[in-house]
Point group: C2
Chain length 326, copies 2
């Protein structure tokens, strides 16, 4: 793409002007064509200084989820090798699911600035305002049986929690199975969906919704955003790069996915345990038609949560909702 | 539907003529309208005698998979409450899957006389010639976790094997997990597909392909049809009603599905064991990258096949292909 070529040239010369002549030569097009594309890039939010007789200089890259920006210098090879981005979409999971049914490769990523029907677990809604969230879905094609799907969910939670920690410095923690919390409030949710035969997974869609720069007023009760948590922690940032966060998530995802394939699920469970604060805590487990309390004991090799009831009996939980009891 | 109303009146008077006047009255339309519909029904294969001044008489119902015929006097309430029929379709499973994604109710059934891309397990083809097969897919919405999906597969095998036995008198048997065999040759295959979240099934599509009146020359090697097996057994039938078979399958499916819901999986496993001939036999298990032999020992409460290796060790098999060893 011509746009990406122009940006590449400008980005590799961050501190100097690139002459129009040089740009034409490297992009292989006319001055008029360059000018037209520069105008288009400015409309997309790129700040490009044009100095007569000197050349062009890139001043600012917009923090919109542009595929070229996500893929720029991305360390992941599989995750993000195909990136499709929407201003607004019903649900990135539904779009990814449809593409996966048509055969899109593992690692394809769907991004959106806003979702009109963002999906949560069990048919719930996932609030997806346009003001600073990241809504993304990845297509995976793991060779596994459907009963191994929890591995992918836990892996995704590990990847996203690590990426948020690395980017923000916040000590976010995982709440089983797949929420990411900061100080008891939700900053991120993960929804895993799959198409499978009885004994083999066809594909998995991992949907990730992160409240990054979202004002709390735009979020439902119990939810928070990374920027809000940073502010509460007395930090000065007023903005976190969503593009960088997406790149960090993709890179972490690729790393842990490789570990799962090469070393098995145990190191993933270990990483998960290191990123949660709930083990040892008192929790309430809500299943359809049944609710009970106990202590979150551990996570099983199959990804289930093991709860120690007050009677001392250990109970495995593989679905349901968890509430932390104070 | 007017057609179904006319057929209903004719069917409830099997041995007598129904006057045109009477038909008009009961259907609430004009003589001209009746005549037009009778012509259309004849085109569909219904033999309807018209005797001047006497009336109409239904002589023969075609054995095509017409929704009205499948639903006529159907004992099942849920299975088949919605029936959609195609002359030719890519894959009934794909059609059913698409409808399920749009929210079609449990028990919806897709039928086809022919499939151009009939699907077998693991991306294989299922040969689906137009000459006498039944290709059907049912939409189920069981409240279960994805790892319980084998229950549905085994249940389907029990329902279909029972229905074939009842209709044909042939002692067909189930080969784990979901083929139905007559004398070592395949008469029916079942393909279970699902959409699921990590901990809950959204819907299951059970695809059933039965070679009913199909000439063996139209089938791949190793396959047979019910009518061929009847002929080999010295029986005189030249045709088995496919509509009746579909009805029998739907009724059996509903019965065992209710048992699963009300009494659990154990009675299904028991029924499955009574319909197989493989337990105690020597088998070869083919997994991706690994093949081993042993004796088919039993079926586990979770639907896995338990194989006794020559060393005496029991090994659980939850996927893969089985070959009977002579």
């Amino acid at each position: 793409m011509l746009d990406e070529k122009i940006l590449e040239v400008l980005k590799t010369n961050p501190d100097s002007y690139v002459s129009g002549e040089e740009l034409c030569k490297q992009a292989g097009v006319s001055r008029a064509a360059i000018w037209k594309r520069i105008e288009k890039l400015r409309e997309e939010g790129y700040e490009i200084e044009a100095s007569p007789h000197v050349g062009y200089r890139l001043l600012r890259i917009p923090d919109t989820l542009i595929p070229g920006e996500v893929r720029w210098d991305l360390k992941a090879k599989t995750f993000g090798r195909e990136v499709i981005s929407y201003k607004k979409v019903d649900s990135t999971n539904d779009v990814a699911y449809g593409l996966a049914e048509k055969g899109v490769r593992e690692g394809a990523v769907i991004l959106a600035e806003e979702q009109s029907k963002g999906k949560g677990r069990h048919g719930r809604q996932w609030s997806s305002p346009s003001k600073g969230g990241v809504y993304m879905s990845c297509v995976l094609r793991p060779r596994m049986a459907p009963n191994e799907i929890s591995k992918v969910t836990l892996l995704a939670a590990v990847a996203v929690a690590s990426a948020i920690r690395r980017m923000s410095g916040l000590d976010v923690v995982i709440k089983w199975p797949n929420d990411i919390m900061s100080d008891g409030r939700k900053v991120c949710g993960i929804l895993t969906e799959m198409k499978a035969e009885q004994d083999s997974v066809d594909f998995v869609i991992v949907g990730i919704g992160v409240n990054v720069n979202t004002p709390v007023s735009a979020l439902p009760k119990g939810a928070t955003s990374i920027i809000e948590e940073l502010s509460r922690a007395g930090r000065a940032e007023s903005h976190l790069s969503r593009v960088e966060l997406v790149k960090n998530i993709l890179e972490a995802f690729e790393k842990y996915y490789r570990i799962l394939r090469e070393e098995g699920f145990e190191p993933i469970v270990d990483a998960w345990k290191g990123l949660t604060a709930m083990l040892g805590s008192r929790i309430k487990v809500m299943l359809p038609g049944r609710t009970f309390e106990g202590q979150a004991h551990t996570v099983d090799p199959d990804g289930s949560l093991v709860v120690r009831l007050d009677s001392g009996v250990l109970e495995k939980v593989s679905s349901g909702d968890i509430v932390m009891v104070r």
